[in-house]
Symmetry: C2
Subunit: 80 residues, 2 copies
């Protein structure tokens, strides 16, 4: 099964890359942008039998390697 | 509305970061990992009236700034 693990800066943590992107989008005419946060995504193909097992495995991966819990939050999304 | 724009290396493009992460996960005991691709995610809050308008706006952002179509693909997901 395929999962996306999205790792983004926690609320309250400065994100200069996201700010710069929001400014660039505004200059390019995207006046509808309110806020941008920039992070990392990991697309993992995992040999799990069902979506719930894939979600649990992905959460363990984020907790053990992919996410720094001091400054980052993560979300897991099972693609299928 | 909130959208996630996931930007990942195209199929066939080498992804040494993803390979390194797959190796590290295997060494940490995640024997169920088949493949990892590493990319960027942008969480954008956009002032759109409906999910379809938010999706269209996010696609334009990816095409004009966030994604390099030579080596990257993008996916838009409307969070709500």
């Amino acid at each position: 099964m395929r999962v996306h693990i999205c790792v983004l800066p926690k609320a309250g943590i400065l994100d200069p890359q996201g700010k710069a992107i929001a400014g660039a989008l505004a200059r390019l005419g995207h006046s509808d942008v309110l806020e941008v946060r920039a992070g990392k995504v990991f697309r993992v193909d995992v040999s799990a039998d069902d979506p719930e097992a894939a979600r649990r495995a992905a959460s363990r991966m984020a907790e053990t390697l992919l996410c720094n819990p001091v400054i980052e939050d993560f979300e897991v999304e099972v693609i299928g």
